[in-house]
Symmetry: C3
Subunit: 465 residues, 3 copies
């Protein structure tokens, strides 16, 4: 038996020769297609400054909480993985190489392998034996101009890259990028509304006051909505096409003006009960949809995550350090107030992301299979991985087809992982479609249309690009 | 690579040659077997009148909310798909042909392809280019006597067809069919109890009053139960073998006579709180089981659907227009009161349907793997599709085997889709069994017994046919 | 087509030749490896006494509620399956043989086939035709010394076998086994805490009083915790390495000393409300973790089962008679109080078992992918079967890899089924890994390391062996 039974070029494609041939043929149609990344977390500043990456450890470990959380689970302290906390980059890199078995089988391991090969030309598996040599090779390359962020953006073929930004962000980095005479790729802001709709979020009163004062609005609920609209307009002027919000559950509610005003004043005062906080947030989510009906911004909802689960880790290392843990999530009852108001509005696009797979066939596909406003978000966070993507397609396609989905979303802070992530999606979609073609469930010509639309027409339609 | 890698005759069968051979051999044992359809929604009137179908659009689009919901989700207005609302049939048909990519991969697309080929001899994919020609060919055939409902019933080999009927329906159409000297197929009524057990249903007081007056019963809870028993007896005389009920959740409860009486009077007056409505419904569900213990009617429960989710669509187009959306559903706690009373009663058959896949391995298979009264309903509604059926078999078989299931249920209003739906079930079951045989998990002879029992002995046992 | 398309030796391995070759090669590395069974229910007394098994029916049917529940679901009365209730062993055996179709496809059928072949050399399928002959052959073998429990333990290669024991058990049988000069296998106790942490459990006040008096502790909450610690120390002296607890839901909570004392006194008096019972249990679960941080015992949690669902069956036949039915289970919110206190403690190992598959990718893998204390328990109870094991691996691996799992757990009372169960796990893991290797997702050398670690280093690490 060969040591490597599958050529790297055929990775993730199905084994049966007929199915593999179909999958390969489909994949090749989109393998080199430009990347549309309509939602993610690469900082605009990274591209505006265009400074070289400092070292392999910062790039592949410290800045990637997908990786650090797994090493942490294996007993490595988080500060020992953080160059910012004083860890030595070479030691961090050796730690990574010594934990290949821990990462084996995870999405992170697969992306890492792809990034080393595709971006740095390193075909060997990373091992303790070659860790230092690989570290040095990457370090040398990172000093080359070709490995600066903007060069990589171009090399990766990323045509549209959306960032995620605070509503009060002046978007100065985006301005630098828009004014660039050499950058043809579009780097566009996304307004992230979380901190301004959830009274249970840290510092809500402070955030709300800042928002009100930023636009000189009166401290009334009407003034608050006006301030949000004002910031949305500011973002739209700078190219934004969507508003994103993360909520523990996607409850929506419609309050009377008096109720909303009263809750808002208590929210400013920090005197809401948990149930009232939830109700206010639910009303705000409905208000965001109302604003989208007006100004056309796509509304993306990331629901069902208990953020910063480990209190002591949050205290010591801050948010986004690998312990956002999903919870059971429903949409059918939760979104009914919103959908009764706006579910048939042509101007609203609502893209729903979940980390609870049970909602795929039970709620998301049926909702998106009726409401023209509802799109099924691509597999998110822990579910952005080959098996999970195939489960997602299997769960939604028979009810909602392919055209009610968002297209692939990388949702990443890690610029270097963007091509690897999109490639996984393209390969698994090719494998999925090939299975349908091979089972006589779809003509090949239709699969060819769909595989192309999935990387272009489908995200363009969902995100109004 | 061939454009059509799988002969249409091998559709849905597995790819590996050994497994495919086994699957094909199993499938051929049942491919032409008669169809038992013990639960569905074809109107008895359609067969009693035996009028020709009017046109292809009414047949394949307007009357099929599986199709209209998907076109609606793509932005087509529902009235533009409804011949009854004045839409031109040929235009509706062209709309269908123009949305093949939207339907691609869904169960509806697969059934449509099968129906066109098997019923009308149209082998080509429907496209905008051939839409008019196909429309004309089907229209011409529909005028032939062979394409009238009763002829199709015979041609399809449907031996038993259950309809779904209001308890107060006089069953006149069933009488016409029973009295027919030429119709040998049995078309039998099913009593649908929803509107008479749930005080939250539209017009419950009115419905209850009608039921009471229909049998001249006193307006007491005892009188009400008696009236229901009376109608069950009426249905049994006309060949009914089951009672069906749809509930948002399958809660059951046992009340004292005084509690039940009090809730009933408030239900008649329309003065129950939501919690009391749920409690009364839970008690009624237990009462339905009690009646089944007495009269032997199989009790089928379709649980966990939020009916008519879009309020404005309900207002404009009525119920059953494609926006019944599932919610998370439990059975273990919910059914305990009922099962503690009747779970071991030999005369009770309780068939449980869900649209929440999570209940398969967690609750349904364990319950049916212990209680002789409990049967696992076939995949229902959105889950009646090839991948979903395989997920269902995988989730339940290792715990409950094959003999605790209902047999396939088409649950459809669309007479023409019945053979296609049963064929999908037979093919996927053959594929599933072939996988077990090929993995050494089951002798071939056992798989041969099971594939035959699945279309005959198993539904006959579950539904007491 | 051959009647038996797969040699028995290749059972459960994948079909495609390349993938099968890899899987076979991986499987062969561990096919004969010693068995570590760190959690199960074989009675220590069985091995201490080492008496011959009495008859095939008691061995394979009466004592195995996996089998009896399925026969019961098919309409066989439980007492007709129970030799202890006077059923004739030969008749029970004939009943089993007559229900092969009922069991077909279930895990029990597969284990039975393997046990008959591997332990008794019976290669034929059990049928009504050969039932008597097989009964006689097994009966004859059971009288041989080689078929006594200790001989089988050795023949099976079981190096470590953990039992499950009441905290007040004097562990006399374990002492006999430890003192044996011929038994080299380790049979070690596990403290099962359920009855002493849940005031809703039958006889809690009585159990608590017994525990207090067993160690002469004062009837205070502090005294109670001290008594538990005392018994843990007793178990540790006798080789215990873990404490097990089964809970309907894994809620945890931290109370003040005064609150805990008050709830404890009411628990002793039997005067807690259901909500207070749950709160006390939640606090006790957190206290068990606190004790594990001190004394190092691994804490295993089996969550989400409604025990003894059928009240009348419980009355007549007692617990563990096949009607423990799962319910929806969450961990993220439930364990937060515990994990905020102890989630980063190096001395705590917390192994989480569930029968709700939805928690795999949603909660267990994300928790185990961050907290070094959290391990994902192997598929439990209904989910200990080939398809279910593959679903489990698929759901967890992309997020948490292989090294955050417990290793395989047979969790069985049936000594004879232990090798069959571990073999299924080894085969399905080989199949899973082979799929990843064949898809280019993992080097073969890594898969070779992992398949070996899964039967040795991984359970040894999780259970601190």
């Amino acid at each position: 038996m060969p040591a490597s039974p599958t050529p790297w070029g055929d990775r993730l494609l199905p084994r049966h020769p007929v199915t593999r041939d179909i999958a390969r043929q489909l994949y090749e149609r989109v393998a080199g297609a430009p990347i549309i990344s309509p939602h993610g977390h690469v900082p605009a500043r990274l591209l505006a400054d265009d400074e070289p990456f400092t070292d392999p450890a910062s790039l592949f470990v410290s800045a990637d909480h997908y990786v650090t959380r797994q090493l942490h689970a294996s007993g490595v302290r988080l500060d020992a993985l953080s160059v910012a906390h004083g860890a030595d980059p070479r030691e961090v890199w050796r730690t990574l190489a010594g934990h290949a078995h821990v990462l084996a089988g995870t999405a992170s391991a697969f992306w890492l392998r792809d990034e080393l090969a595709s971006v740095f030309g390193i075909e060997d598996e990373l091992t303790p034996g070659n860790a230092d040599e690989v570290f040095d090779r990457i370090s040398a390359l990172l000093r080359q101009p070709d490995y600066r962020p903007r060069s990589l953006l171009r090399r990766f073929g990323i045509r549209v890259l959306a960032t995620t930004d605070d509503p009060l962000d002046p978007l100065a980095a985006h301005r630098v990028l828009a004014d660039s005479t050499t950058l043809t790729e579009r780097v566009l802001p996304t307004l992230r509304a979380d901190a301004y709709i959830d009274p249970a979020a840290a510092n809500f009163p402070l955030n709300a006051e800042k928002l009100l004062s930023a636009v000189g609005a009166a401290a009334t609920f009407g003034g608050y909505l006006g301030a949000l609209k004002d910031r949305r307009a500011y973002f739209i002027e700078r190219g934004a096409f969507s508003v994103d919000v993360g909520v523990t559950d996607p409850a929506t509610a419609e309050l009377t003006a008096a109720e909303a005003e009263s809750l808002f004043q208590h929210a400013l005062a920090g005197t809401l009960s948990p149930a009232q906080q939830r109700l206010f947030r639910a009303h705000m989510l409905l208000q965001l949809a109302a604003m989208s009906v007006e100004d056309g911004l796509v509304l993306t909802i990331h629901a069902g995550v208990y953020r910063n689960h480990s209190a002591s880790t949050l205290d010591q290392f801050g948010p986004d350090t690998g312990h956002d843990i999903p919870v059971s999530t429903g949409f059918t009852r939760e979104l009914k107030p919103l959908l009764d108001r706006f579910g048939l509005e042509p101007n609203l696009h609502l893209i729903l992301f979940t980390v609870d797979e049970t909602a795929y066939s039970r709620e998301l596909a049926p909702l998106a299979g009726f409401y023209p406003t509802v799109y099924i978000g691509a597999p998110w966070w822990f579910l952005d991985a080959p098996d999970a993507i195939l489960r997602w397609r299997s769960a939604i396609t028979e009810t909602a087809g392919f055209y009610r989905t968002s297209g692939f979303i990388d949702d990443t802070r890690a610029l270097l992982s963007i091509p690897a992530r999109h490639d996984v999606s393209r390969r698994t979609d090719a494998a999925f479609l090939a299975r349908y073609v091979a089972a006589g469930r779809m003509p090949l010509a239709m699969a060819e249309r769909i595989i192309s639309d999935l990387v272009d027409a489908i995200p363009a339609a969902a995100f109004k690009l």
